[in-house]
């Protein structure tokens, strides 16, 4: 702590920060551009000037850049100093000399940091009367639009894209007053984190293309605190809605999970919510795949309950992409004995093992932000950027943070970004990745291209070196032994080693190996961490809830032990071979499917109920840390489309359960369901605390979903009726579908629908909602951990796979894939444009055996043609296939690939 004097007032601040950050944290406004809380200072824009005095007697002082000056004890500054103010006004005027002043047509307008800063400095007249420099813009792919004329040369984009996220195709080109920020050549931005440029760039150079097609100003959007549903990270998001469709996804600041950044799957993968083919009404089909007939809600409920009542046994198939509440309500409907999680058996076993390891190895699971403080990482059988997007960015920061450790020794503060970058060129904390093919982190990592069993053997060997009490690996080849030694040395030399693994390879032995390493580190009294990546948004939650496997459900149906099935938000064809699912569904006389997407499973439903997606419903998910997080409904679909009958699955299922009991379907609210779910499942008890209940009020007010400048509400339904109905009422949450309600920042709160503060319209407004800038939300970061480290003992696993022997079969190695590997976002158009063309990775030997070369094509049965990608160090006996390419393909499945014959696709 330090005392600083600002304009004659004394303040207590965090002395490790720079003056800009410290003053902003105090709520004092200093304009700035190039500084960013996550990226530190470079002193490039000169916007943050203040006057600094040497001591009490100094009445002259000098101008300094507040972002480049430490908030040291007894620092004296003036923000209000006339000369400093004039300087700042001049700086913004210079920065804007070539700016087109095109706010009315600029998509940044209304949430623009440049607008905010220009107003803050009082620059309201243009004096420059000469020719402006103009630019050619680039086509940067399906996510990001480019308008270089608006650039103010703050360098934030390249600092984020290259220095922070490891991108290599974006750059700053040219010199002096002629600097261009773009790709070295026109083309798609390659980084999977490129979408953050839309929030990092303080002006409208990089904007969201998916938003552009259906543009609405920030003040006209309706928001809710939501949680990304596209992987197990659980990033917090603020989806913005207008006229019944989601218009954009903004980052919602969370101090421990996603900070200021998202991955591009999460930001641009929402399009499935807006699809025009979504089921809006209950439907009925006599035969699979035939055109359905729509039903009224009451008719549908009556007919479904009636038929279910007459069935002998109903199986419920839940889903790791649906909320805990919906899954619980399904389990209530069919009974615990008839409930399946909807997860394939081997994956479910891995999930259970991951829960167990998180509890018993003795290492705790750091939050994503805490990962950045780990000083050695081993990734065993995962590709974090592909399987958990944002997590890869945290891991990169961990590797880069070596420079901070170096800086600390010679007195360079952690915020002095450019100095640290120069100091720590090409030196990283050790990051070892055992994974068969290239990853986004390779430039800061050492990677070992191994097959799944070899990855496990390597892991077991590492554990044995760390703790000789851990089982020894037989017949280890010398090269692997050396690798294991190097990894073990790095982990043991570190203060906070981290082990990362997960379910991508669906391998018990890989996870057991990771568990042994974690346990060995714990036994050697290391302050380490263990992070385990799950596949889907609620995989962790479903595993905690428990239930039978999907395979079990298929068997019950196929073997005639049940004649009805209720499927919750789950496309079974993504998980098991089509034949197996077909067989099972064919035996079920009644097939009720609740979903918001027209999946192959839904097409075989006898009854369909239109489920809410995250945009139209509330619920709770559990992320890979074990953090339960609530997502809130963004808009009420029935308000603008009165014909729509979309409801949360838990609501539908509750009504069905009441019908079965021949009770009147009294409505139920979220809090009741959440409480019932928490009570029924001891592992989920904490979930009630994940967010405040419907009765929560601030200053007696509900929380507003709409900014107070929200316009046009009285007119937006005028095409339907000129009289404006009452806005929808929300019985489930403390939020109002209205601009009326609390939207401020002076009361600490966790659940913030959108960040806005007077004078702060851009995403930088989040700085008003945190305890200190870049810290935690002032009301605490949302969510609650359900999985805790337990005292006690785990025996080392002895399940070491044997060394691979040469076999003739080729096995599938399904590779997680950020664009395309997730069922729902793969239905969003911009994501489809970013999916890799179908490829199959082979080593040279296997390619030769199949008589194919790099660039030839292969098929598996009637699959699309896959281009052969020969990789020199790819493990023999495996065919690498991106997830999502061949639905239902099991990890490790034996494959018969055949050459495409001429003419055929």
């Amino acid at each position: 702590m330090a005392i600083i004097h600002v304009d004659g007032q004394d303040y207590e601040v965090n002395g490790a920060q720079n003056l800009l950050q410290a003053c902003l944290s105090l709520g004092l406004d200093i304009p700035y551009f190039c500084w960013h809380p996550a990226m530190g200072s470079v002193g490039a824009c000169r916007q943050c000037a203040v006057r600094q005095y040497k001591d009490e007697d100094d009445d002259k002082g000098s101008l300094v850049m507040s972002c480049m000056a430490p908030a040291a004890d007894q620092t004296r500054i003036s923000i209000e100093d006339e000369e400093a103010k004039a300087f700042r006004a001049s700086v913004v005027e210079w920065l804007m000399i070539n700016h087109p002043h095109d706010c009315p047509v600029c998509e940044e307008g209304g949430h623009c940091h440049l607008q905010d800063m220009t107003v803050m400095t009082g620059h309201d007249r243009r004096r420059y009367r000469f020719r402006k420099r103009t630019r050619r813009n680039q086509e940067l792919g399906p996510f990001i639009a480019h308008e270089m004329n608006r650039c103010i040369t703050c360098y934030r984009c390249v600092r984020f894209y290259n220095d922070y996220a490891g991108g290599t195709d974006l750059g700053a080109f040219g010199a002096k007053d002629n600097v261009y920020f773009g790709r070295y050549a026109e083309g798609t931005l390659e980084s999977p984190f490129a979408g953050n440029l839309t929030e990092v760039c303080p002006t409208g150079v990089f904007t969201d293309k998916s938003h552009s097609e259906q543009y609405t100003r920030k003040w006209d959007l309706q928001f809710a605190p939501s949680v990304c549903h596209q992987c197990s990270m659980g990033c917090n998001i603020s989806p913005g809605e207008r006229y019944g469709s989601i218009r954009r996804i903004e980052n919602r600041y969370h101090g421990e999970v996603n900070g200021y950044f998202l991955c591009d799957r999460g930001r641009f993968g929402y399009g499935y919510v807006n699809r025009s083919d979504r089921p809006l009404l209950p439907e009925w089909r006599q035969q699979p795949d035939e055109e359905p007939t729509t039903l009224e809600v009451d008719t549908a409920l009556a007919r479904i309950t009636d038929t279910l009542r007459h069935s002998q046994r109903v199986i419920g198939i839940g889903s790791p992409r649906a909320s805990l509440e919906s899954n619980h309500q399904l389990r209530e409907l069919v009974g615990a004995d008839n409930f399946s999680t909807g997860i394939e058996a081997r994956e479910q076993a891995c999930l259970a093992l991951m829960d167990d390891l998180q509890r018993t190895t003795g290492l705790h699971t750091p939050t994503p932000r805490q990962i950045e403080n780990h000083d050695a990482i081993l990734v065993l059988g995962e590709d974090p950027v592909q399987s958990a997007g944002r997590l890869g960015l945290n891991m990169r920061q961990a590797a880069l943070s070596r420079r901070e450790a170096m800086g600390e020794k010679i007195g360079i503060p952690a915020w002095n970004a450019e100095a640290l970058k120069t100091l720590g060129q090409d030196v990283y904390h050790p990051l070892h990745i055992a994974w068969p093919t290239a990853t986004e982190l390779d430039d800061v990592a050492t990677r070992y291209p191994l097959a799944p069993e070899e990855i496990a053997r390597l892991g077991f060997a590492v554990a044995h070196i760390i703790d000789p009490a851990a089982p020894v690996v037989d017949n280890l080849d010398p090269a692997t032994r050396d690798t294991a030694q190097r990894i073990a040395d790095d982990l043991m030399a570190a203060e906070r080693p981290l082990v990362v693994s997960g379910g991508s390879l669906v391998s018990d032995s890989v996870l057991q190996a990771a568990g042994n390493i974690a346990q060995a580190l714990a036994r050697r009294a290391r302050q380490g961490g263990l992070v385990l990546i799950r596949r889907e948004a609620n995989s962790t939650g479903l595993s905690l809830m428990g239930g039978q496997t999907l395979d079990w459900a298929m068997d019950e149906l196929t073997e005639g032990r049940a004649d009805a099935v209720v499927v919750l938000e789950n496309d079974l064809y993504q998980r098991l071979p089509a034949q197996r699912v077909d067989q099972a569904l064919a035996r079920a006389d009644i097939r009720v499917v609740l979903d918001h997407q027209r999946t192959a499973t839904l097409a075989r439903a006898s009854f369909t109920l239109p489920a809410a997606s995250f945009a139209e419903g509330d619920g709770t998910l559990v992320n890979l840390e074990g953090r339960a997080q609530r997502f809130f409904q963004v808009y009420e679909p029935g308000y603008l489309r009165p014909e729509a009958r979309i409801h949360e699955s838990w609501r539908w299922l509750h009504a069905l359960a009441a019908g079965l009991r021949r009770e009147d379907a009294t409505d139920v609210n979220l809090d009741e369901i959440t409480a019932a779910c928490a009570e029924a499942h001891p592992a989920l008890t904490g979930m009630v605390e994940a967010a405040p209940g419907a009765g929560y009020r601030i200053e007696g007010l509900r929380l507003a979903r709409e900014p107070h400048r929200y316009s046009g509400r009285t007119a937006m339904r005028a095409n339907l009726s000129v009289s404006e109905p009452r806005p929808p009422q929300d019985e489930d949450t403390p939020f109002a579908f209205s601009m009326e309600g609390y939207s401020g920042f002076d009361h600490p709160r966790q659940q913030v629908a959108f960040a806005w503060a007077p004078g702060w319209n851009s995403p930088q407004a989040w700085n008003k909602f945190t305890d200190e800038v870049g810290g935690h939300l002032s009301g605490g970061d949302p969510g609650i951990r359900l999985i805790h480290r337990q005292p006690g003992h785990r025996d080392y696993s002895l399940r070491i796979p044997a060394a691979a022997t040469a076999e003739n079969t080729l096995r599938a190695l399904v590779l997680p894939s950020l664009f395309g590997g997730d069922e729902t976002s793969a239905r969003a158009e911009p994501i489809q444009q970013r999916m890799a063309t179908p490829v199959v990775i082979l080593c040279h030997i296997d390619a030769e055996a199949l008589d194919v070369h790099h660039g030839d094509t292969l098929v598996l049965g009637d699959s699309p043609a896959m281009t052969v990608h020969e990789q020199d160090d790819w493990p023999t006996g495996w065919a690498g296939l991106p997830a999502g390419l061949l639905p239902g393909l099991a990890q490790g499945e034996a494959l018969t690939l055949s050459k495409t014959t001429g003419g055929e696709p």
């Binding site: 390249v158 290259n162 991108g167 290599t168 195709d169 974006l170 750059g171 700053a172 080109f173 040219g174 010199a175 261009y180 790709r183 070295y184 050549a185 026109e186 083309g187 798609t188 390659e190 590709d383 592909q386 060129q425 090409d426 093919t437 290239a438 990853t439 986004e440 590779l815 997680p816 894939s817 890799a836 063309t837 490829v839 990775i841 990608h869 690498g880 991106p882 997830a883």
Partner: protein, 170 residues
């Protein structure tokens, strides 16, 4: 999974191919530095020496040899005014417009050059013989006004000297 991207397919092709000898020379330069990006200027100079300028397709090619991103190479290649990104004539005339030369007759010298060559800054004579460009201080202030043709510095140069000087560069 990471898509195997061949960067060369992403950009408009100007048909540039890195000469094997240049690739060897760049790899040799790499040995002199701790960081590969430090060899970037040398690499660009090597390419420019052979081609007279640095075509767009050379950027990803150099990036590949250096093992750094094409964005970084393009950044360096556009920062330095003496890395030419458009074709230049057989000889490049650089006329100094910095202070000493400015005070001692740069104006007349530049005008004489424009008259003599028939092109202004950035122009190349129609016979592709000369390209005229400004340059900042050549470090030849003692002989101001100064100019440089290819690797040769001259000064002081008067307009009258020009025909004879230029003749030396066929």
């Amino acid at each position: 999974m990471a898509e195997p991207v061949s960067t060369s397919t992403l950009i408009g092709s100007d048909g540039f191919e890195l000469h094997p000898a240049d690739e060897t020379a760049i790899l040799e330069q790499l040995k002199h530095y701790e960081q590969p990006q430090a060899a970037c200027i040398d690499a660009l100079k090597i390419v420019q020496r052979r081609h007279g300028w640095v075509p767009d397709d050379a950027i990803p090619a150099i990036a590949r040899v250096l093992g750094i991103g094409p964005g970084a190479v393009e950044g360096v290649a556009t920062f330095y005014s003496l890395i030419f990104r458009q074709p230049v004539g057989r000889h490049v005339v650089l006329v100094c417009d910095s202070s000493s030369c400015f005070l001692t007759g740069f104006d007349e010298l530049k005008q004489a050059l424009v008259n003599e060559l028939g092109v202004d800054y950035g122009g190349t004579t129609s016979d592709n013989r000369f390209t005229l460009l400004p340059v900042c201080c050549l470090g030849a202030c003692d002989g101001a006004p100064a100019l440089m043709i290819d690797n040769d510095t001259y000064g002081p140069v008067t307009p009258d000297d020009l025909p004879r000087l230029l003749e030396g560069y066929p």
